[in-house]
């Protein structure tokens, strides 16, 4: 996710630097991004910052801590007055100027507020070490206090956040604990819920393996990251966000506490989460970015940013909470500027939400036009392409669906649509296939009797022979077939009789490279995880040629001190020949990939595996035959060659760094002299 940050920061820089040349005026002080093919790309402004308020209808917000909006458009904010050390709950209406204050006499430092579907208000008072359930009149219905249960342990009871689900469970996020404390409505503690798990890294595993017990205790504690906030959706599913967790920072938990969302794009400093009217998930980070996801966790918009000077509308100092009302207006509290910032969706965002709503309700074909509208506004909006793909798919327009899925890089959708297209094709053309098959069968059967095939193939063979005689180069290159048939004999000819020259082997190597380039460009995108536009020629050259050359050199050097027979030339040529199975499979894979869907992935995998497996075997025998080693010596030679390759790389790298430092030193010296004079 660091890359995302860089992109965001970069874009800010760009607008500062040469801002007035190309970018369109957005009317807000932040850029809005969406995801296109796994990258952040700019999009239309989705939310407009309207105002920063330190009061609501004349009532001061003090230090606002948490915010909740109920279905009737009442906003609830809990806040702390830092001078009097008391807290309060402010409830106000978005429809009229009604404002009520609760709990000034008993709240100390309320940091969490929630209202259930029956209108009961839940408040987590961290400073008061209690949580409360109030009715709409402000009467305390129930207090939640520190449980005596041994399950709770001897943690402090500092309720930070609180929610209640449809089955009347109350979940309290206790400060410093790893999960949500689950209570009944009657203050009975049931246990912990939704605890994060640890994801040991390679480093921690290695540490765990090699460290002594004491060291282990000192170096790290394998405790999971702390949940930073919690929200609940209409279905009663709990959403949590976790600080310091890049992969699964945003979670939706089922009744067993398992995560239902996959990996979502997020930053590691998640502060709050809220579920909006159509199940959209909103998160806000400490660095001031707001992310909106659809109900499945696909990122729709990312925007916002930090402004420590508190001067720019729409940016944050230390955002502490986010809430969304039924019209998708966003309410964000800032814990440093003590302000409430309100954002309203633009007509573009409304368009996206509209399409999404239809799409989520399964009304795919109805969502077609709204998605087309969205795509008119932004042709690079992946989710819209995906939605449109689904719409076409449900309308049976599989060709169109395919191209939309491809635009959205939705491989599953593409595979399904392609299956339909292929199916239709096969049904239409099955007679041609049958005709071919039976013709061949008949011809084959007749051949068994009459042997007339030889009259067909003999001239071809003669022709090839003729050409091979004429062109030495071609003859030598085609010798690879003989090599593959019988490596040991051909190696002998190569070694003793100079059967193959440098040039023809090099040509073969170049052909490999061309096959490889064709492969990476044309391998069906279903199976091809590479982004074609990111392919860099030099990088590919290095990838193919560098290991080859290093190996040939290393193996030659090792061979010459370990009594290998192979000359440099022999190693060069036989290595190229031995690699043939892998590279010659590539065109087959390329062609085959265009006829297969995900259902037949195993064919591709099998072929790939086989090509590598066979190549490895040839490679082994290549070394063995070229140097005339026994099995043990061959293994040794290969391993030592690899080690030498690594050392050669390392050496070059070190020399490069040193030279670079030297260059910098000399350059700096010259600069200093130049500028000082």
């Amino acid at each position: 996710m660091k890359k995302i940050m860089i992109v965001l920061i970069l874009s800010l820089l760009v607008s500062l630097q040469f801002g007035f040349t190309a970018k369109a005026e957005s009317g807000v002080r932040y850029d809005t991004f969406t995801i296109s093919n796994g990258r952040f790309v700019p999009t239309q402004t989705a939310y407009v910052a309207l105002t920063n308020r330190s009061e609501v209808y004349g009532e001061s917000l003090d230090k606002p801590n948490d915010i909740f909006i109920d279905d009737l458009n009442y906003v609830y904010i809990v806040s702390t007055n830092n001078t009097t050390k008391t807290g309060k709950l402010i409830k106000f209406s978005l429809e009229n100027d009604e404002v009520t204050i609760f709990g000034q006499d008993y709240l100390v430092n309320p940091t969490g507020v929630f209202v259930d579907s029956n209108g009961f208000i839940y408040i987590a008072d961290r400073g008061g070490n209690k949580a409360y359930k109030l009715d709409q009149a402000g009467n305390i219905v129930q207090e939640f206090t520190k449980p005596d249960s041994p399950l709770f342990g001897d943690n402090f009871f500092q309720p930070k956040k609180i929610v209640s689900d449809n089955s009347d469970n109350v979940y309290i996020l206790n400060n410093g604990s790893r999960g949500l404390a689950q209570f009944t409505q009657n203050n009975e503690f049931l246990g912990y819920f939704g605890t994060n798990t640890t994801n040991p890294s390679l480093r921690t595993i290695l540490q765990f393996m090699f460290f002594t017990k004491e060291q282990r205790n000192n170096v790290y504690s394998l405790s999971p990251s702390e949940i930073s906030n919690v929200a609940i959706d209409d279905r009663g599913l709990i959403h949590t966000v976790t600080l310091g967790d890049e992969a699964t920072g945003v979670k939706r938990l089922n009744i067993n506490g398992e995560n239902l969302l996959g990996e979502v794009y997020n930053l590691p400093d998640l502060q709050d989460v809220y579920v909006g009217p159509i199940g959209n998930i909103f998160t806000i980070t400490q660095s001031g970015y707001i992310y909106e996801y659809d109900i499945e966790g696909n990122l729709l918009f990312a925007f916002g940013g930090k402004d420590e000077s508190n001067q720019i509308q729409g940016l944050f100092n230390v955002p502490s909470a986010v809430a969304v009302d039924s019209m998708h207006n966003l309410y964000v509290l800032d814990g440093a500027s003590f302000e409430l910032q309100i954002f309203t969706p633009t007509s573009f965002a409304n368009m996206v939400h509209n399409a999404l709503e239809l799409y989520q309700d399964g009304l795919y074909s109805e969502s077609k036009d709204p998605w087309l509208e969205v795509l008119k506004m932004n042709d690079m909006f992946d989710l819209a392409h995906k939605g449109l793909g689904n719409a076409y798919y449900s309308l049976g327009e599989y060709d169109l669906a395919m191209s939309e899925y491809q635009e959205a890089m939705d491989r599953d959708g593409y595979s399904d649509a392609f299956w339909e297209v292929r199916n239709a094709y096969l049904i239409d053309n099955v007679w041609i296939l049958l005709v071919f098959f039976f013709t061949f069968l008949v011809a084959y059967v007749i051949n068994l009797k009459l042997h007339y095939f030889k009259y067909v193939f003999a001239p071809v063979k003669r022709g090839i022979k003729f050409i091979r005689k004429k062109s030495k180069l071609l003859d030598e290159s085609l010798y690879v077939y003989s090599y593959l048939k019988n490596p040991s004999d051909t190696t002998y000819y190569i070694k003793r009789e100079n059967r193959v020259g440098y040039l023809s082997a090099t040509i073969l190597l170049l052909i490999y490279f061309v096959l490889y380039i064709i492969f990476i460009y044309n391998f069906n995108f279903l199976f091809n995880n590479r982004v074609v536009s990111d392919i860099n020629f030099l990088e590919e050259v290095t990838k193919i040629f560098l290991p080859f050359i290093l190996f040939v050199i290393a193996n030659y050097l090792i061979g010459s001190i370990r009594e290998g027979e192979g000359r440099f030339k022999d190693i060069y040529i036989t290595t190229i020949f031995a690699l043939a199975p892998y590279f010659l499979t590539l065109p087959i894979l390329t062609i085959l990939s265009h006829g297969l869907t995900y259902n037949e992935t195993f064919i591709i995998s099998l072929l790939q595996f086989l090509s590598i497996f066979v190549t490895v075997i040839y490679f082994f025998f290549m070394v063995k035959e070229t140097h005339f080693y026994n099995v043990k010596e061959t293994f040794a030679s290969i391993l030592i060659s690899f080690f030498t390759m690594a050392l050669m790389l390392l050496g070059t790298f070190i020399v490069y760094i040193l030279l670079n430092e030297l260059y910098k030193l000399i350059y700096d010296l010259i600069m200093e002299v130049y500028y000082r004079v």
Binding site: L10, A24, S309, M327, A349, L375, D379
Partner: protein, 782 residues
């Protein structure tokens, strides 16, 4: 008969405009997703709209009085000018209404700013022997100074000689003792005393409608050039200042389209002043000065209104604008109780000179930023002119007086800008590969479509017409991208377009792409004052470097290509030129003024043959149209209003086009804003889908396909044209926000355009304005 009655009613309603009543009909438009009332009200109250004016009168008790120490130095039919020599301050009395503006704040109480605000003039200086530190905001009343006052025609010339100054409190306390010989000079110097030995002349003259302050650069004296240097002069820091919310009114900033900051008690909400450099960032000089504004101040003006439609003051910087900064304080900032707005004029700055390849560390160095005179004109405004519309019109008149604007031929319909995107490129296996977006034939096709739809008035620009495509290849000579059509086809297309429109090729002679032809790094790529190249790196881009060219190189390239454009008879749409100036190093140090000299020569050469994007005011004289007109301001928390100040100035003088409406995410509301601000629509179009631009450097053009947009373009154009064609060539006489979200614009031909941003239907002057739409009134229906 009915028509006549209607006319009478309209005239009647016009004459009682000040007692307009607004009726709200409670029905909502279907298009409008109804927001909770709280959201709608904070939206319309936000600084994204113009607020309802507080028309209350300035209380007599807050009028500034003429004191005994004020000496009358000049007088004309409208104004009297007084001078108080003790604090080098002036007062201007408006004889029509007795209102007085003072260049200082009488009995100021403002902590460390007290001396600055108690004086008519302030300075900032650099102490060379103290690590080049700059001492800021020094009021002259805190300095021991002598002056020679010389009466000149309509005013005075004051030669100031600045002597001892205490920069610390201890020094100030000991100073009387020092005068009596109790302390030696050395003792005093150790406690922060410094002999400045600086001097300059200040000429203040009375004009018909204001005053002019002038400081000749030649008059600046620095007697200890190795100890103390003058870095900036602050002209009239207290002029137009008000205390808290005592006086109703506002301050005006030309930030983006225009911003107002109203006088109200902010209860300490804002902690930092607004500050920005006129004409935008100086890429060539990185100093400590930072702005949080994202628009340049494109016009060198600022203003205050004391009582709307009562008293106002418009400052126009005539000279020294290239190296000046604007400061605005609202009450609460630095614990001051005042609202202030004033310019600072810079002469010298310090910067960090690094000596290492990565640009770290280094020494403070000194550089000249200006050797220009300083001249500021202050126009006293009253009655109908004492508001932002009056300020805009006053500046418009001022520019017109300088022959800035040419007489335009007006057509019946408003023009539309269409930018045809032709080609770009993205990374490929080897280098980059070209992406065709619209061929020559496509453009013919698209243009004919719009002609068929009845649009007649075009400003067409071509983007990516050049060999290699748009990104990375500008500046480009006149060499068309062959894959889009042959040269002769290109020429035919240009001829075809010329029949119906102004046509220009987009080029950039200020910032060059890394694949631009003919650029020699050593010769052409500009070095900043710290001698590092002015290059913006973007590692993920197709073209990873964008560099500023030396202004001289820009000039040479533009000169070289001029004939080719002329031969084709095609105009140029210049990017960056007209809104960029910077200091640079080229075997010597050059200021922004040096860069502008070259740029002005280019503009002079291309006069009438060029269009500019968001040009600064010095470019107005040379541009046919204003492209990418700002429609917002920097959206700072302290701003209260968005106003079309820039638009008021330029209305009727040149067509103003919006940013491309493809990227309008605000829907109809933004179209209304165009009607409100008198700005014409602009689109970027291409034949092929915008998704082809994925992975190019112009990915931010994420929608442009003609087939998707063609109907919208015509519809939106007609919607805007139907209103704005009635006021082509007219100026705005008044702009009143009747209730939040309801604006009434009255033009010089009597046409009134009402704009309703609210979700309710409104009735004003018997005109019904549906929610989120405009309605015409006044002479429109006659």
């Amino acid at each position: 008969m009915f028509k006549f009655l209607k006319k009478v009613m309209i005239i009647a309603s016009l004459s009682i405009a000040s007692i307009t009543t607004v009726t709200i009909i409670n029905s909502t438009d279907n298009d409008y997703r109804e927001q909770p009332s709280y959201i709608e009200s904070i939206k319309l109250d936000s600084s994204r709209f113009t607020q309802v004016d507080d028309l209350s009168l300035v209380k007599k008790e807050y009028y500034i009085e003429i004191e005994n120490s004020d000496e009358l130095v000049a007088e004309n039919d409208n104004l009297r000018l007084y001078y108080d020599e003790d604090i080098v301050s002036f007062k201007i009395e408006n004889k029509n209404n007795g209102y007085v503006f003072s260049t200082h704040i009488p009995k100021a109480s403002a902590g460390t700013y007290t001396s600055l605000l108690s004086s008519g003039i302030g300075i900032e200086y650099i102490q060379l022997d103290r690590g080049m530190s700059i001492v800021e905001n020094v009021g002259i009343s805190d300095i021991a100074f002598t002056q020679e006052i010389e009466k000149i025609n309509n005013g005075v010339n004051i030669s100031l000689n600045l002597g001892g100054f205490c920069s610390t409190r201890i020094c100030k306390n000991l100073y009387p003792g020092y005068l009596e010989g109790e302390y030696t000079l050395e003792e005093m110097q150790n406690r922060g005393f410094i002999e400045l030995k600086l001097g300059f002349d200040l000429q203040v003259t009375l004009q018909d409608d204001g005053i002019k302050a002038h400081i000749p650069f030649e008059s600046i004296k620095e007697e200890q050039p190795d100890l103390v240097l003058l870095s900036s002069i602050i002209v009239f820091p207290g002029l137009g200042a008000t205390k808290m919310d005592e006086i109703p009114g506002y301050m005006m900033l030309p930030d983006g389209a225009g911003a107002l900051v109203r006088y109200e008690d902010n209860q300490g909400r804002y902690r930092a002043p607004y500050r920005a450099q006129f004409y935008g960032l100086n890429y060539g000089l990185t100093d400590n000065f930072q702005t949080i504004s994202n628009y340049p101040l494109s016009m060198p003006i600022f203003g205050v209104v004391h009582g709307v439609n009562q008293n106002g003051l418009l400052g126009i910087i005539e000279e020294g604008d290239y190296a000046s900064r604007l400061f605005m304080f609202v009450n609460g900032v630095y614990n001051l109780n005042y609202n202030l707005i004033f310019p600072k004029f810079d002469f010298k700055k310090t910067y960090l000179q690094s000596f290492s390849i990565d640009g770290n560390g280094g020494d403070d160095r000194l550089v000249d930023v200006s050797n220009e005179d300083v001249t500021v004109l202050y126009k006293i405004l009253d009655d109908d002119y004492a508001n932002y519309v009056g300020m805009g019109n006053t500046y418009k008149k001022y520019l017109d007086g300088l022959d800035t604007f040419e007489n335009l031929e007006y057509s019946e319909d408003i023009p539309i800008q269409i930018n045809y995107l032709m080609s770009d490129s993205k990374k490929s296996l080897l280098g980059s590969s070209s992406i065709e977006m619209s061929t020559v034939d496509d453009i013919d096709f698209m243009h004919s479509y719009f002609l068929d739809q009845g649009i007649e008035n075009f400003f067409v620009s071509l983007m990516g017409w050049n060999e290699g495509g748009y990104s990375g290849h500008l500046p480009s000579k006149v060499d068309f991208e062959n894959s889009l059509g042959s040269n002769s086809k290109f020429i035919d297309m240009i001829r075809y377009l010329q029949e119906t429109s102004d046509i220009s090729l987009i080029n950039n002679y200020v910032i060059s792409g890394s694949d631009a032809g003919g650029i020699q790094d050593r010769r052409d790529i500009a070095k900043a004052v710290d001698r590092f190249r002015i290059t913006f790196e973007c590692p993920d881009c197709v073209y990873q470097n964008r560099s500023a060219l030396y202004p001289e190189s820009s000039y040479n390239f533009a000169m070289k290509h001029f004939e080719d454009y002329q031969e084709l008879g095609v105009n140029v749409l210049f990017e960056s030129l007209g809104n960029t100036i910077f200091s640079y190093y080229d075997e010597g140090y050059f200021t922004q003024v040096d860069s502008i000299k070259y740029y002005l020569e280019i503009m002079e050469l291309y006069d009438n043959l060029a269009n500019y994007e968001y040009p600064n005011s010095y470019t107005y004289k040379y541009t046919n149209a204003f492209m990418k007109t700002p429609m917002f301001n920097s959206q700072l928390n302290l701003f209260d209003d968005l106003v079309p100040l820039l638009q008021i100035v330029l209305m009727s003088e040149m067509p103003m086009f919006s940013n491309y409406l493809n990227f309008n995410s605000y829907g109809k509301e933004f179209l209304l804003q165009l009607v409100d601000f008198n700005v014409y629509p602009a689109y970027v179009l291409s034949m092929n889908e915008a998704s082809n631009l994925k992975n190019t450097d112009i990915e931010h053009i994420y929608t442009s396909q003609f087939d998707l947009w063609k109907e919208t373009v015509v519809e939106e154009y007609e919607y805007i044209n139907n209103a704005l064609k009635l006021v082509i060539g007219e100026s705005l006489v008044s702009r009143v926000t009747l209730i939040p979200g309801l604006v009434k614009n009255t033009y010089s031909n009597g046409v009134i355009i009402y704009i309703n941003y609210t979700s309710k239907t409104q009735v004003v002057d018997d005109v019904t304005i549906e929610s989120l739409s405009y309605a015409l009134g006044g002479d429109a229906n006659v």
